[in-house]
């Protein structure tokens, strides 16, 4: 599904204060997997995501999505950004926000509206179609952004610290939402986070990045009994063990550098 080989990216290459964000990063993600990427803050996680999304051209290495080299944004890829308030369009109703990307999908107006409705329903926002983003709470706005990505029916969904700007309770709700929609839609999800617990709770697999320049320092399979639950999963011995291991990997490399 996603193949990253020997990826590197340098900001301001050539100048004395060039910043090596990524160096020699290799990663492959299987179709249908939910991969969480964790790493210390400022380690180049977002650079990695932007490279996969085709928003920036990495200075070295290559990224393939479904076998095709990424030059611009791949066809069936959607992104949920951290900053929902600036990624949703404030002049459009919630339904129009969700339906906008469907314009290039050869769907007529009615089909687009139905798809938007369905996506909003699946994130628990049925009935909010005619509201505007500013009328919704932060968590609800991020649900709209998720609905927009879902309606688009991507085969790969990238989430860039999607729950970084919401409160703890909403954060747990949204984590469960991702697990739920993931069961309904068959797609690959790559979720970037700096929250170690979240990566273990949500992911099938957790990849730990080093401090910048980022490369993979840990790759763990998460084998927790499902369905996951905010209380019981988090007290499961395997969960406790895994989060400790991920934490050690994140911290160890943050301290060593």
């Amino acid at each position: 599904m996603l193949e990253i080989t020997n990826l590197s990216h340098v900001y301001g290459g050539g100048s004395p204060n060039a910043h090596h964000a990524i160096e020699g990063l290799n990663l492959s993600v299987a179709a249908g997997e939910l991969l969480c990427i964790v790493g210390p803050s400022g380690c180049g996680k977002s650079t990695l995501l932007r490279s996969i999304a085709g928003l920036i051209t990495p200075t070295g290495g290559q990224i393939k999505v479904e076998g095709d080299l990424v030059r611009q944004t791949p066809d069936n890829l959607a992104v949920v950004f951290q900053d929902y308030s600036r990624s949703l369009f404030p002049w459009m109703s919630v339904a129009d926000n969700v339906a906008l990307p469907l314009r290039r999908k050869n769907m007529d107006k009615k089909a687009r509206r139905e798809a938007a409705h369905e996506a909003l329903e699946s994130v628990g926002l049925a009935g909010a179609e005619r509201k505007y983003p500013f009328q919704l709470s932060g968590g609800m706005q991020q649900r709209v952004a998720i609905a927009r990505a879902l309606a688009y029916r991507p085969s790969l969904m990238l989430m860039d610290e999607p729950f970084g700007s919401v409160d703890a309770q909403t954060r747990e709700d949204l984590e469960d939402l991702v697990l739920k929609v993931r069961g309904h839609h068959r797609m690959t999800i790559v979720l970037i986070t700096h929250d170690i617990d979240e990566s273990v709770y949500v992911g099938d697999r957790v990849v730990v990045l080093s401090k910048a320049p980022a490369h993979v320092v840990g790759d763990l399979k998460v084998d927790l009994p499902g369905p996951r639950d905010q209380i019981t999963t988090r007290e499961h011995p395997d969960f406790v063990h895994l989060r400790a291991e991920v934490g050690r990997l994140v911290r160890g490399h943050a301290a060593a550098a």
Binding site: A78, W91, R104
Partner: protein, 286 residues
């Protein structure tokens, strides 16, 4: 738990709104009071002084009524002089505004969307904007001769700059994450322009248009003060002055003030409709 929190927030918002509304009513009452007091002071001072150059406002209003608004119902109570002078002025202003605003929006988008065009042209545009339009009136008269064409060209030239520069500024400052979202969902250029860039530009564009509205009234009157003009509010002003009819002159001045006020209010109504999302979102972040 969450539901009660939501109810509480709603109640807080409702409370805040009602407080704001009461405050608004009081402000409006005070505003009228100030206006009434000022007019009374004006009336008293002019009556005490008794100068022919400064007729009291009551006389000016009566004159405005007899001169312009005492016509038959068939012409919406407009008199012949009103039809002959006020309507051409408004027509000039509307045509000049429409032409200048359209040119400003189109050129502003073109300049704002190309970083290179903006870098190259910014200085030139600031220079052109800085020229006081009346200084160029002779140029327009030489090119177009006396009459309507020169007047319209003059009004358009005067108002195009605030619209152009504000629109360009707006088109340049589109939220980067909005553009990245467009890129991720692979919107076409046309969709991106129409559904994302244009709406993002609207708040600044409207700031420019609002300047243009007040400016168009000013330059419209100025263009009617020129020789070769035979109608318009500006023409009536010069004519009244040449006849030493000071009350008629003051009537023209007051009419222009009222027109300026009404046009601004009208503009605000339109802006509130078009930019409702913007104001609401801004209030929330304050």
């Amino acid at each position: 738990m969450k539901a009660t929190a939501e109810v509480a927030t709603r109640a807080a918002i409702a409370r805040r709104d009602s407080v704001a509304r009461r405050k608004g009513v009081r402000t409006a009452a005070f505003r009228w009071l100030v206006l009434v007091v000022l007019i009374l002071v004006w009336e008293t001072v002019t009556r005490v002084l008794g100068s022919a150059f400064f007729p009291p406002p009551s006389m000016i209003v009566v004159r405005m009524y007899t001169m312009w608004f005492s016509g038959p119902p068939s012409t919406l109570f407009l008199t012949d002089p009103a039809i002959e002078h006020i309507l051409p002025s408004l027509g000039r202003m509307a045509a000049g505004f429409a032409g200048g605003a359209l040119a400003g929006v189109v050129l502003g988008l073109a300049v704002g969307l190309s970083a290179r065009a903006y870098d190259y042209l910014d200085g030139v545009l600031q220079f052109l904007r800085a020229i006081p339009p009346p200084a160029l009136i002779t140029v327009f008269l030489v090119v177009f001769g006396f009459g309507l064409k020169a007047q319209l060209a003059f009004i358009m030239f005067s108002i195009v700059w605030p619209v152009l520069l504000n629109t360009a500024d707006g088109a340049r400052s589109v939220e980067p994450l909005h553009l990245q979202t467009c890129q991720v969902f692979r919107l076409t250029r046309a969709e991106r322009l129409r559904r994302v860039i244009l709406p993002s530009t609207l708040p600044k564009m409207f700031a420019g248009l609002r300047l243009a509205v007040s400016l168009s009234l000013i330059v419209m009157v100025f263009s009617e003060l020129l020789p070769g003009t035979t109608d318009g509010i500006g023409f009536q002003l010069t004519f009244a002055k040449s006849q030493s009819d000071l009350t008629a002159m003051w009537a023209g001045i007051v009419l222009l003030g009222v027109l300026g006020y009404l046009l601004n209010e009208l503009f605000l109504v339109v802006e509130r409709r078009v930019l409702g999302w913007h104001h609401a979102a801004q209030q929330l972040t304050e």
